[in-house]
Symmetry: C2
Subunit: 340 residues, 2 copies
DNA sequence: AGGGTCTTTGTTAGCGCTAACAATTGTAGG
DNA sequence: CCTACAATTGTTAGCGCTAACAAAGACCCT
């Protein structure tokens, strides 16, 4: 099929010569300009196919001042949530004819963020999507004074910056409401780090739902998202036994908690109900299968691209998009035990 | 700091005017050409700093025919291994001054691969790194007749294509040797899909090690990498009980297996030893903590970039790089039970 | 038929950069 | 003092594309 034109790739000029038109007409065809006659368009398209012509993006970018590239700045790409958000972004981007360039960082230091942003703007990214779930990211970005649209995942928009977020607080409330509906009254919370946006939002949701039900919110322990921290916290909780239900801020910590409970002879859900957050694919196979709150990260990524296109292509203003969570009930939650 | 030049970003010409030199001299400075006097270089660098000049990559690419962009084609980015490989690639790329553009696909259909490759080459990628752990990927890539260097992760190089891989077979042998050293003689294997490169390689390693020890290799079941398949297979294994040890091809399936065993009253490691593959961060917190084979994916990614640079910058020929695995012993393996 | 409008196509310039070559300077040797 | 050669700097062209404008037809109306 593909003919091996020896040296250079074909240019507009080559296509034009073959179709007996000017290069500008070819340009019109590939850019879908309206004023091209059907017959001309046909000839040009044939020539494009025959030569295997592909537009040179560098040349195009030079004159349009658009690179059709979206820069994604991400930390914690090894984690389920960020990785899947990236996936959603990438898919939507490709469908819309955009390229996705990534810059990964560890942690969320101001310097690391600004380096990565510099890297992406050096490439001429038309817009930035930031998947850095740490508190303070927004401030660093604001200080950078960027002149391309920026969309921050997981945080509400603010000033120039747009936000696309899952409704973490609502998710937490769904989880707690589920436990309350099962009759639990002493409901603890193993949170993520409180300097993470998501960590704090879930604490807030837990508090609010408890407050509305007139229940106490004094059982809060801060973890670090890892299964290990969940395990250590679980060991302590198993000794005190002052809650009949625990809302854990992610599935991984819940995994650690389950293991600690198992070792200490605390049965789940007979003695204590446990509910997680995220719904990773593995969570259905924990012991017992974990009740949790599902987050649709791919959808989140797609919404990011929608918002980005609105800004890049139509110059729309910023805003905040919120995606809803969903409760997934499995076997780690049950009615409050009689003997509290 | 940054002055807000109203409309356009500064160009070479602007820097040149400020430093009282020609734009070409500025170009020489930013490209580290030798024949620039120290004083001129100083003035130019000062002007660059004052104006906040950044080179326009599109213009540069247009003339050099290099984009400084590496395209990464990846499937299964939600999985631990591929995600971390990408991370390693990205880090090494950025350090070397390259951009990383990604194209994610689902599955490994020929059409999906060729679409994604087209997307990346449309962007003018200087080289491609392919993280698609399915069998047949190599053939599809070969058929595409690409004119940029291609590095395939997880597979041995072949013809034009380079390979960077973890030594899966060795990893499998380490796992099986560990079980044999504990006295096990009936060692089963829950494999990944056999049309995945890694899945097949681990089966081969398992077979070879057993063969050398004169043990039977008739206990093979094929899974699909998911915790769910591990669970279903575990239920069956728990009923037959014809092995005292099981080598599972990844940690997620091992998780499912553990749950099935737990439900059926099969104790791990007292009744059956279980060993996984990958060493995901969670594996230390399974019940019991999982003995497994560690793979250094970030290292893998870095090696990819090393190889890529050698090809892009020095026109080196292809080759195959192999990274070694490491056995991590935890609590899911123990000596063979007396009563077999 | 002639003047207006609309549609289709062509011509020209320039995006910002680097490569190739030209010009200028400095320096040493005859 | 003038040539030979190297080191440094400047000038010109062009990478492949799109925007803006110009030109040429096609068509309708009076």
């Amino acid at each position: 099929m593909g003919n091996n034109n020896d040296r250079r790739l074909p240019r507009l000029e080559d296509v034009a010569a073959r179709a007996n038109v000017s290069h500008q007409t070819v340009s019109r065809v590939i850019n879908n300009h309206p004023n091209v006659s059907a017959s001309t368009r046909g000839r040009v398209e044939a020539a494009i196919a025959e030569l295997g012509y592909r537009r040179n993006t560098a040349a195009r970018s030079l004159v349009t001042r658009r690179t059709q590239t979206i820069g994604v700045l991400a930390s914690e790409l090894g984690q389920y949530g960020p990785a899947n958000t990236l996936l959603g972004v990438q898919q939507a981007a490709r469908e819309a004819g955009y390229f996705v360039s990534i810059a990964a960082i560890k942690g969320a230091g101001a310097e690391a963020i600004s380096d990565a942003v510099g890297h992406l703007t050096d490439q001429g990214a038309d817009g930035l999507i930031v998947i850095v779930p740490h508190d303070g990211t927004l401030e660093v970005l604001e200080g950078l004074n960027l002149n391309v649209p920026v969309i921050v995942v997981g945080e509400a928009g603010h000033g120039q910056l747009c936000g696309v977020m899952l409704d973490q607080k609502l998710g937490a409330r769904l989880a707690v409401a589920h436990l309350i509906s099962l009759g639990h009254q002493r409901i603890g919370h193993v949170s993520g780090p409180l300097d993470w946006i998501d960590g704090q939002a879930r604490v807030d949701g837990w508090r609010e739902e408890l407050a509305e039900a007139g229940l106490s919110d004094d059982l809060l322990v801060e973890g670090d998202w890892s299964a290990g921290s969940g395990y250590r916290i679980g060991q302590r909780l198993a000794e005190h036994r002052n809650a009949t239900a625990v809302f854990v801020s992610n599935d991984q910590m819940a995994l650690g908690l389950l293991r600690a409970f198992g070792e200490k002879g605390v049965r789940v859900p007979e003695d204590v109900s446990v509910i997680g957050f995220d719904d990773q694919p593995e969570s259905a196979y924990f012991m017992p299968p974990l009740t949790t709150v599902r987050q649709d990260f791919e959808e989140l990524g797609k919404r990011c691209m929608d918002l980005m296109r609105a800004q890049v292509e139509d110059g729309a203003a910023g805003g905040t998009v919120v995606v809803g969570p969903e409760l997934v009930v499995r076997d780690s939650t049950a009615a409050r035990p009689r003997l509290t």
